[in-house]
């Protein structure tokens, strides 16, 4: 009996990376505690999030037990399916709030762009792995096309935020695969020059967001409102915060989206600078551990996938906190592992599963 139990425990935890799991679990706990406060003590919301968490953990475990080589094999079909679904959305998607992002598949509505978040890095990593050792500029050009197609499809939904995040994940693969610094710097310079030309092509709401980011007081009751209220929440929290469930900004309804994209403002108001620094340290622990896993990965595919997943974790965390604290314009990026929302939680835990798989399946051969 005891033997059975210990073998079961062994099977359960064999592929689970302790540090990664501890850091993620701690952040998820912060998320649930804050969610309870942000939803005005709604147990229903916390339960719903906990249910998603259960599913996410199961998926993480399954992915952790799949060897990276097997993941590489599904990369191309997954990418093609994701692109096909994006095309289908463009042709027959359901319009919600003026954006065509959803595909109605009878039982539920499904957002193909979420699938692309996983599919694109897998696809690119698989491609670079396949031509490992003889990667030339043509390969980077083709990789760029593989990135641009889904990014364009998502951008015209329109969902600029997600498009930019997916473009970023693609860029991370290229960067880690060794894209020349000259090209990187050149692209940045080009971006700086092109920005004024892109301006007239933006949608009104996008321009508005940028303008109100530059000066939130332009529209204190409109688009700048979120940003200003979030800053007030954080700033009034002070060093130690107002205490759990005591955030006035949060509970008097001043904060919009306060259980999703702006949950960090609730956290920062109630737990103050101390809480914020602890949360940042937890993210750094998670990302740091993920980087160690990446560095130890044994194949190019594993390295690229693990590295990109790591950098995306960083990107989500940074962009969300920067947006809430007024360092960046408001974009729809949730705080990873904290914001309410089942889909995001599941994708993130699948990402953790990939990292754990890479760690568990590394070949312990001396270089």
């Amino acid at each position: 009996m005891g033997d059975f139990l210990s073998r079961g425990w062994e099977a359960l935890t064999r592929r689970i990376d302790t540090w990664l799991f501890v850091a993620a679990a701690a952040i998820v706990m912060v998320g649930l505690v804050t969610l309870y406060s942000a939803t005005d003590q709604s147990l229903a919301r916390v339960q719903s999030q906990a249910m998603s968490l259960g599913l996410a953990l199961v998926l993480m475990w399954i992915v952790a037990n799949i060897a990276p080589e097997k993941l590489a094999r599904i990369a191309l079909p997954l990418y093609l399916v994701a692109v096909a679904l994006l095309v289908a959305v463009a042709l027959a998607g359901t319009v919600v709030n003026g954006s065509r992002r959803w595909l109605d598949i009878g039982v539920a509505r499904f957002q193909p762009s979420e699938l692309m978040k996983i599919a694109l890095p897998l696809m690119l990593a698989w491609y670079f792995q396949r031509f490992e050792g003889r990667i030339g500029w043509r390969d980077f050009l083709l990789a760029t096309i593989l990135i641009v197609v889904p990014v364009y499809l998502i951008k015209r939904q329109p969902d600029l935020g997600t498009a930019m995040l997916i473009a970023a994940s693609g860029f991370y693969v290229l960067y880690l695969a060794g894209l020349s610094w000259k090209i990187i710097v050149g692209l940045m310079a080009l971006g700086a020059v092109a920005a004024p030309m892109i301006w007239p092509m933006l949608h009104d709401y996008q321009r508005e967001r940028v303008l109100t980011f530059l000066d939130p007081s332009l529209d204190p009751l409109g688009a700048g409102y979120h940003s200003m209220q979030a800053s007030i929440a954080l700033g009034s929290g002070g060093v130690v915060g107002k205490g759990w469930l005591n955030g006035t900004q949060a509970h008097l309804d001043f904060l919009p989206e306060r259980h999703t994209d702006f949950i960090f403002a609730v956290f920062g108001e109630e737990f103050g600078l101390v809480g914020n620094v602890i949360l940042v340290l937890l993210y750094m622990l998670l990302i740091g551990r993920a980087m160690v896993i990446t560095a130890n990965a044994s194949t190019l595919f594993a390295r690229l996938v693990a590295g990109t997943t790591t950098l995306m974790f960083f990107t989500y965390a940074f962009v969300n906190m920067a947006m809430v604290s007024g360092l960046m314009p408001v974009v729809g990026v949730p705080l990873p592992l904290v914001s309410y929302g089942g889909t995001a939680l599941i994708s993130l835990f699948i990402g953790l599963g990939i990292l754990m798989s890479v760690q568990a399946h590394r070949k312990l051969v001396a270089g």
Partner: protein, 651 residues
Amino acid sequence: MPRRFLFASRRRFGGERGLGSPELRNRERELFLFKRRLTVAAALAVVAFGGLVARFVDLQVIQHSHYQTLAETNRIAIVPVAPNRGVITDRNGVVLAQSYSAYTLEITPSRVQNLDATIDALADLVDVRDRDRRRLRKLMEESKNFESLPLRTKLTDDEVARFAANRYRFPGVEINARLFRQYPYGETASHVVGYIGRINDRDVERIADWNETANYKGTDTIGKVGIELAYERQLHGVTGNEEVEVDASGRAVRTLSRRPPTSGQNIALTIDIALQQAAEEAFGDRRGALVAIDPSNGEVLAMVSKPGYDPNLFVDGIDSASWQELNESPDKPLLNRPLRGAYPPGSTIKPFLALAALESGKRTAAQTIFDPGFYQIPGQSHRFRDDKPGGHGTVDMQKSIIQYCDTYYYMLGAETDIDDTARFLGQFGFGARTGIDIDGELSGILPSRKWKRDRFGAQNGKWYLGDSVSAGIGQGYNAFTPMQLAHAIAAIANDGVAYRPHLLHAIGGSVEAAAAIVDEQPTRIPLKPQNIATIKAALVGVNREGTSRQAFVGATYTSAGKTGTAQVFSLKGEKYQEKNVNERLRDHAWFIAYAPADKPRIALAVLVENGGFGAAAAAPIARRVLDYYLTGAKAAPASDIESTSGDDESD
């Protein structure tokens, strides 16, 4: 960036392909490059997180007290509390306009993501009609996006309860208790009382000019027409405020302190609503105007404009269909006829012209002329026809007024300089606003040489003798409002002492305060007593034995009056046959009167549009109003009265 790194990558991607370095070494090199890149990324991440922490320190330590203050003010909002608008009553305290509180369902469009879907969902909870949707659309066009706009007004208790239970589903939608204006008498006196409507951009400027912007913070309606407009500042009151804890959607969570508003002042009008009703009933379905004035002080006792409209339609924003119907109706229900309808005075001008002749010495009361039935300007062939074929024979002033003799006035007109006439008539207020205390009054047209030159230019603006002859019988260019004629006949009734007509009787319960607002200093028109006595005697004769005798058969008081017929359409010398003329081209019927003749308490002017002869259409209405005011008697229905004078063709 280290040069080695750049070099390495270039070589690897550019030239080294296929060079047969050992597999293992190549891998090692690749791994080394990868780790470098990862290290760079890790360093960037640390820097980025460091930047975040710096921002947190900035917000939460350095700027903490600033944001602390903002958070405090965020919670505590000063909410204006709109004052109760003053009540409008008639002179006897009968309520004509009042405010009451009711629940409205309001939407702030900028806070609602999908307006149509939201309204559809709301329609499941409360009754939302197409009219409500249309009105909301119209309001959205007229207002700023962040304003809270009413979707439904006057919710029932059930509807309020149903919405309250589902409120969480509708961000940007809320229920507010608002004050509504109600006009219990509807169409009756609608042109006097006027109505309120939503504050628009022009109103905002007006409020700013008064320096009252702060005082209107909680107010969303303002007087638009009539008394509601004229005494807006007295009726409005002083806005109070409440210190409340609110949430982001402006919903008050609880009240911390309160400074109550001061209600607007109540206004009592000089109107007697019972008299007003009697007068409006006397009109029946006919279009026209009536103004009744107390000659001894200028108080307007009744002021009718038919047809009227229901001011209640405007209170919470009129929908476009109703507006269109009112605005495009050929009957022009929105036209305030007593003040904005300018009609040729016809024969009602004759007593004033006769008085002018007496005062200037051009005629004496006993002086006679011979009337062959027409008048010709010497040396011209055109005949200015009298209404009576064959003429009235020998006519003195008395007979000219009582018997309706045009020829007398053609001759007088030809002999009198038009500028002298204009100067004299100007003293009675013709051609100028009477100064009544509601807006929109027209000044009418009192023709003179200067007027015609200004109007038609030097070329065509020459004054001809023929113009004077036409003006002599009140046709031609003359056009006056019913208010002007009522004011003028009141001045005659009061022996030349003219008071400014006004509608304000008392304000805040004080007649003295009202008198201070309405300047009641009269103007004294210099007239010889015997001349005015001559004219008054003639006017009494008109009602006793003249054109309007039928209308005044059996009156228990003596009255004075003058009928008039204003041409709408010139028949070029043909005999006017009422039944042959399109209804809208028929003459307008006038009647001016005062009573009792010896000590006048009421003077009035009646105009019936396209009514035909004044004696037939207008005089019976005047009779009913005078009867009601002087004896309290409700007269017989309009049809009976009409038949008593129906056979009298002369005017």
